[in-house]
Every structure is written in structure tokens, then in C-alpha cells.
């Protein structure tokens, strides 16, 4: 289906590209948590929000928050958000697109109030670059930013508390940043950061869950030996063992739907061309939306490693570095989003998110859903990252329809029909 990009979509893209120029490093987009250019981003978005009729403030962790009130003073709150920070040398859409879309949605309402308020939130921190810990903005929003985190230091030696103060904010006000409990739903728009939608020729993806993840390190310990004088049958080659295992991991993941498993880091030592590898250290990253599937996979993969090692008289040890359960999104909200996409004329493509997002932090607290926009070339965390105008239009149209679905749904709820 081809959608003609409208002015509103082009405006969203232009605004993202404009914001990408607010950077710590001239010539590229690098905008970490609470750095100087974030002031300009706050100022720019604040004026857009205010023009659209929103009341704006920056909370104590640096989240930019604009409230468009509901029809009645006691209206519950829909939260729309994503993050304002970037990785070093980033693209122009990761995170910021979701915030700009949130503002555009309110702009589309043209002052018309709904039976619920809309709060658009630009999270101050999601990428984890400055303090080597991600989700600082959303963690503060759900009251889970731990005291200890405030003592983490950035590379200049400044701790988080000091960074907040240096930005002109008051860490004592952190409790006031916590999301009011009148919030009934959270929706996040984000680029996919992967090739799935593009390969399916789809504009939008409806996210059912954020995958769980296991990260491990495996060590294959054989014997380093002379590559010329050691016959094949007398070798204990750690690299051959690791290689057989890497192929087995690829096979296993490929034959299990939606499972991904990656060995991205391999170090062979002593690492000389004429010496058989005595030791190989390898990373393992396994992800799936179903924790049982993931755990079964990890067990099978470790068994494969042991078999490949045993065949060569190689020893194996492994260590878990990260074990993170999957986060399911709200099935009811997700089905409303599905319906909205269909109404707006976009075939629904359900999927899981292989990457982490603020929705992961929000979902356990408030019913949450996510809409992905196609990433051309699957590119993300890269200056060439982009988004297609027709996909932004599709997302906007779906979002407006989602507001309608949400309004009808709440009316049914109130009337006892649902």
C-alpha cells in the first residue's frame, strides 16, 4: 500500500532533522543526557508544545513533560513518549521521533479536548551512554531510580546528582517526577532499528513484547601448539571447537521461530597464525519474547558447546553476564492499536522488539503498547539512519485512529459493555 506523504509527516521529519543539529560534537549528532544541547532541545520542543496548547515543565531527572488537558478536570491521562538523548554519532530519529510524533498528535487535535488528558514526555536518558546505565528518565518516572545510581560518575568524574544540579535541576524534587496514578496507558512510537518491516514491505509494526535476553561469556580451553608439528588427530584446538559451536548456535536459532542468537565477540589466543589456539573467549547473546523458549535455547546451546569441546579434548566454562526476562506489552491496548492501524488502512504486522525501550520500564507499572516505524536498510545508531515520509504519515494516521479507539473503548468500559 502506498500512502502519499502529507505535510504533517514532512514537518515531523524536518523537526527531527532540526533537533539532530543540537549536538555536543559539531558535524555529528551526539547528545548525551543533560548536556548543553539538551537545553536547546527542551526550549524548542517546549515552544511547539505550548503552541499546541500544552502546559510544559522539566522534571528533576530532566524529562520534558507537556500536558494537554482532557475535557474534564479529573480526566485520566494517556502518556505518549520516547527519549531525547542519543548514542555518539547517532542518526536523527532514534528516540526523538517518538517525542516529535507525540507533539504532532496533539497538534492534530487542534485544541479539541478528549475525555482523557495527553501527556507527551521526552525522556532525558535512555541510551545509557553518559553514566553507563540506561533508562534513567523512565526509571525516575516510575520511582525506580535507586539512591545508589545518583552516585554513579560520568567520564569527567561528575556524579549523577551533580549533573542534575549542573543542569539547573534539583535532585530533591525527584519524588515529584513520579508518574501520577491517573495514568491509564502509555504508547511509544520508535523506529524499528531492524530489517523486519522493510523485508515485509510494511510501514508499521505492532509490538507485542520486548524480548528477554541472556548474555554469557564462554571460554574454550584447549592446548596451544605448533601449527606445523602437531598432527590433526593430536590437537586440542580451541578455535575449531568454538567454530563448531558457533555454527550450531546459528542452526539452532535459525530453526526456532523468532529466536535470535549471536556470537559477536571472539578472541583466540595466543592469536598467532602459526600457533593452534589454546584459548577462545566468545560472547553469547540470546533473545526471545518467551522466557521459556529462551531458557531452553540457552541450555541446548551450552550442550552444543560441551559436545563440540568434548570431541576435541577441550574444556569449557561459561558465565552469565546478563539475564533479563521478557516484558510483554498490554494485550488489550495492543489489540486497540492493531484495530487502529487496520482502520487507518495499514495491514497489521505484529512483532517483538529485540532492543530495549522505555516501554520496558513503563510496562510493569502502566498498560503499555508500542508502534514501530520501518527502518530503511535496518539502519540504526548510525548517521545514515532514516525514516520514510509515508511511514511517518502511516504512524500519524494510526495514532489519531488509536485515540478514537481509546475514547470508544473507555466509553464502553464506563458503560459496562467491555
Amino acid at each position: 500500500m502506498t500512502v502519499t506523504p502529507t505535510d504533517r509527516a514532512l514537518r515531523v521529519i524536518a523537526r527531527c532533522r532540526d533537533i539532530a543539529t543540537y549536538t555536543e560534537v559539531p558535524g555529528e549528532t551526539t547528545r548525551r543526557f543533560l548536556t548543553r544541547p539538551m537545553h536547546t532541545v527542551h526550549a524548542l520542543l517546549r515552544s511547539c508544545m505550548e503552541i499546541a496548547g500544552m502546559t510544559v515543565h522539566v522534571d528533576a531527572i530532566g524529562n520534558l513533560r507537556g500536558l494537554f488537558p482532557g475535557a474534564a478536570p479529573e480526566s485520566p491521562r494517556l502518556l505518549i513518549g520516547s527519549h531525547l538523548d542519543t548514542v555518539p554519532n547517532a542518526g536523527a530519529f532514534d528516540g526523538i521521533l517518538g517525542v516529535v510524533l507525540g507533539v504532532a498528535i496533539v497538534e492534530e487535535l487542534r485544541g479539541q479536548h478528549l475525555p482523557f488528558a495527553i501527556e507527551v514526555i521526552g525522556f532525558s536518558e535512555e541510551e545509557g551512554v553518559r553514566f553507563s546505565k540506561p533508562f534513567l528518565g523512565s526509571l525516575a518516572l516510575v520511582g525506580k531510580l535507586e539512591e545508589e545510581t545518583l552516585t554513579r560518575t560520568d567520564e569527567s568524574g561528575l556524579n549523577l546528582r551533580q549533573a542534575i544540579e549542573a543542569y539547573g535541576l534539583d535532585p530533591k524534587q525527584l519524588p515529584a517526577a513520579v508518574l501520577p496514578d491517573d495514568t491509564f496507558a502509555y504508547i511509544e512510537f520508535h523506529i524499528e532499528q531492524g530489517p523486519v518491516l522493510e523485508s515485509d514491505d510494511a510501514s508499521l509494526g505492532i509490538v507485542e513484547a520486548l524480548v528477554g535476553q541472556t548474555r554469557m561469556e564462554l571460554i574454550f580451553a584447549g592446548h596451544a601448539n605448533h601449527a606445523g608439528t602437531t598432527p590433526m588427530h593430536l590437537r586440542h584446538d580451541a578455535m575449531s571447537a568454538a567454530a563448531e559451536w558457533i555454527v550450531a548456535v546459528e542452526d539452532y536459532a535459525s530453526s526456532n521461530s523468532d529466536l535470535v542468537a549471536t556470537i559477536g565477540k571472539v578472541h583466540a589466543s595466543p592469536g598467532a597464525g602459526n600457533v593452534i589456539a589454546g584459548h577462545v573467549t566468545a560472547s553469547l547473546d540470546v533473545r526471545h519474547a518467551n522466557d521459556n523458549v529462551r531458557n531452553t535455547a540457552v541450555s541446548a546451546i551450552l550442550k552444543d558447546a560441551k559436545a563440540a569441546a568434548d570431541r576435541r579434548g577441550v574444556q569449557i566454562t561459561s558465565q552469565i553476564q546478563l539475564e533479563q526476562p521478557a516484558v510483554p506489552l498490554d494485550p488489550h491496548l495492543t489489540s486497540l492499536l492493531d484495530k487502529a492501524a487496520a482502520q487507518a488502512g495499514f495491514p497489521s504486522r505484529r512483532m517483538t522488539s529485540g532492543a530495549g525501550h522505555d516501554a520496558m520500564i513503563l510496562a510493569p507499572i502502566v498498560p503499555s503498547t508500542m508502534l514501530f516505524l520501518r527502518s530503511p536498510g535496518g539502519l540504526s545508531h548510525h548517521p545514515d539512519e532514516t525514516v520514510l515520509p509515508q511511514d511517518v504519515e502511516a504512524a500519524l494516521a494510526t495514532a489519531m485512529e488509536f485515540l478514537t479507539q481509546l475514547r470508544d473503548d473507555r466509553r464502553n468500559l464506563k458503560d459496562g459493555h467491555a
Copy 2:
């Protein structure tokens, strides 16, 4: 077969261990070409040689050369040698054992002259550590040390010519170092540096050839992508492609007798656990005593690499870094050595050498043969490198029998019986 080690074997081992204490680095054995401790080694071996009745000099490249004259003034010359230099943090036997055995053989003659002279040579340089070029001693001996090599510099900036002068030698005398053409045979004793003899429960190995070698670098170029958001079927994983190839290389070499193939160096980039490897650089080392077998293997292995890469939409490039033909040793001398070992009571175990030795440089010029002594644990280039007393005794007994075989053989030749 068990042989009781005799005093002469224990003396050889003790002498090697003594010489191992002459080192550039206290506490370990590191003795590079023409460094200070080499003076002491020269002095010690010179006195042993002179006591055994040899005339000794150090040639212009620093080879220590002791001549035990034959029965007649015009007697032809048998050369027995190996090298005096070591790798950093070496063992006590690699190279030096062959020189000390040469001296012990002459000692065993107890002044009795044979119909041929024996020159024992301690090559000054074989490992290639100081000037990043091996075989300097034997290359000078066969007149193949190129003028350009004299301008190579060591890590202190001294060139080879200056190093020779600093040691007290005269580079102008290099032509005088060339082996006289009365030399009719060369024999080298060396530890195996591999596990073959030990796994066969054999003391000695009779070397038929030094293997040829191909060294290459392969680059697998796929696409680096997010490990969470890129489904298995949309990946171009350079590490998986390389891994499939590494297993194929192991399979191919294992199913071809005496072929060895090694991937000892693997570098995956960007090298993060959560990023699919976009590039993998891998070494390849293939060796066999038959150049046709080796060339066929390299072709097959490159085809395997292409197949593994193609299956994943990964590109592959390769570059040859070293292409060295096999060096066959002299079949007649080798059969005499075989006969000698049998006469001495040691089952003959023919093999090829997977490592380079001075014999490789000598063989194209003078009929050459080599005898390997078992390396316990296959260990070499390591402080724990050792040799068994009974194996040294076996080598000595074989060597003395070899002299007899050689004498009879030459008598037959002269009488026209061979």
C-alpha cells in the same frame, strides 16, 4: 624398547641445561643472535671441542665451527649442526641439543680418525627473533645471505652489519664463511617440537622432508547489525560464515594424511557481544611435505570459504602471505640413517618436519638428513621443554652407527659396489 640412559646421555643433557643459563634475561633462557651471552656459549663449546681434538673458529656470521680432521688430509667433510640462538623465554634443548650432540659424537670417537672429517657447526641464528628473519647462520654458510639483509635493523636500531662488528667479527669476511665444497653430507639432530613420537611411544624420528607451507589471510565481509533486532534469516553474519569455514578446514585436513591446516588468529569486528560481526579476519596455515597435496588443499579450502560465505551473503577476499615449497631430504642418506637406527636397536619411525630447520637451507646445496628426538608433551618454545635421557642415548647410539654406515657406504662407493 627401554634403553638405560648412560653417562654420556646425561652429560649431553647437563651441558644443554648449563648453556641455558647463558641468557639475556636473568631467570629465563633468552639468547638472541650475537648478544652478550653468545660469547660465553662460544667459549664453553670451544673448549669442549678443543678437548675432543677439534680446531675451532667463529666465522663472520657468528657460526661456531669445530673441525675434527679425517684420516687423510684430503678427507671429505661430514657436517653436523644445529643452532645456538633461542626464542624469548625458551627451553633448554631447541637447537643447542643438536650442537652438543655433535660435540658428543666427536668425543665418542676418542681421537680415532675416520675416512672423512667431521665439522660440528653451531649456527648463530635460526629463530629469526633479532632481525625478523630466520636462518641467518645457515644462509651465510651456503652463500645466500643477501647484501640487503645486512641493512635490516633490530629493535635498538642497529643493523645486521653493525651487530656483526659489535660482536667483534668482520662482515667483509662473510664470503670466507661459505661451506667448502668438500662437504658430502649434513646431518642435524633436533627435538621434534611436536607430539608424534610421544604418541607413537618412539624415541627417534627419521625426517624425510620438511613440509611446504602456505600462509594466508582471509577476510569475511558481511554486515554488522543489531543482535536483538535482526532476525536470523536477514543476517549477513561474518562470524558464522568464518566458523563454518573453520570447521570445514579441520574436516578437510583431518581426512588427508599428514596434512595440517590451522586457523590460529581470528578477529571479529566490531567485536561487541550485542552486535553481529560485520567483518572477520582469519589466518590460514597449511602444510604438507608434498606441494601438490598442499596446493590442492588450499584450493579446496578456499572453495569451502566461498561456499560458507555465499550461503550468508557474505563477501570473501584472501591474500597469500607466504608460499614456501617443501624441502625433501636426501633419500640415500636418510635410508642410511634408517639402517643405523635399526642397527642401534631403535624401530624406525619416518616422518616429516612441520617446522623449519637449518637443514631446509642446507638440503638444496648438500645431501642432508635429520634425526628427531621425542619431545615430551610435544612441548617446545617453552621453559618446560625437555628431552628424555634414554632418547638422547638412542640418538647417540644411532649417530655412532650412522658414522659406520657412512664409512661403509663411502667405501662401497669408492669400490664401485653401490
